[in-house]
Symmetry: C2
Subunit: 135 residues, 2 copies
DNA sequence: ATCTATATTCTACATTTGTAGTATGCAATT
DNA sequence: AATTGCATACTACAAATGTAGAATATAGAT
């Protein structure tokens, strides 16, 4: 698992475009972000910084540059999740969840889905006898 | 619910002391933070900024200032949680949870506890007949 | 070769955050 | 009153982030 740098609020927006498109030229990125009234250079600056941070790269040799992500959204999300947990909850998952189920008003449907996920998780987690998990 | 400003990593550490102690003089804060090798002025700067942000205040008139928090840890945690959800998961609780139960390796015990919390939550949420929740 | 539009780079500036030196105020002590 | 020590304030600086103007390059049209 590679080192994930910190990614700012606005940078996430740019990354989102890249993650959703897989790869994109600058104008594609720009038009995908047109709802944000960012100037072109602003977007370019962010791309440059993301490249410097090692999370975005350019396909070399092609006329209009093609940008693509070097890290997966999942990796970044995971990284953010843990840094959030650490900062705000001293890393206590338990504490976090106790607050979370209160703060976020989950619908009954969401709760049920979550329950299902957790049940599945439990079965998968415990390696009692069947150590072979064929996904 | 008052406006919660953004609170940085290091600032959280200071807030934690205040939240845990309820109130504290500077030296108390300093000694509570001694594991971080911060210079005194660093801590003071953070307190000043937290005051400017409106999340900490000083009990006026007393010899060594007594600092105390103006916002609860719960409020701040909630605020951080939502801003995290928004930034990283576009606000999708569902998406977040699906990833979360995978990323965080919950022990079976934790899963059980969470299941219990959720069940309770479900009962509490639906206001079918018993609208009166005596905590 | 020149013009024009798009592509790409460089530079700049404000704000937030982490970090800390220096200076001043005040109080107890000699 | 001068000294010493803690309390409080002022100032400074670097890195990260959001934001964008200005300059240059490059390609296609004239």
């Amino acid at each position: 698992m590679k080192k994930i740098p910190s990614i700012g609020e606005a940078e996430w927006q740019v990354m989102n475009v890249l993650w959703e498109k897989g790869e994109a030229t600058f104008s594609e990125i720009r038009s995908a972000l047109k709802e944000h009234s960012w100037s072109q250079t602003t977007i370019h600056t962010m791309l440059t910084r993301l490249i410097k941070k090692g999370v975005v790269a350019i396909k070399e040799g092609i006329s209009p540059y093609v940008f693509y992500p070097l890290v997966s959204r999942e990796e970044c999300r995971k990284h953010e999740t843990f840094s959030f947990l650490k900062r705000v909850y001293n890393g206590s998952v338990k504490l976090f969840l106790a607050n979370f189920v209160n703060d976020v008003e989950l619908s009954d449907r969401e709760i049920d889905e979550l329950l299902k996920m957790l049940e599945k998780c439990k079965t998968t987690e415990q390696p009692s006898e069947g150590e072979n998990d064929n996904a």
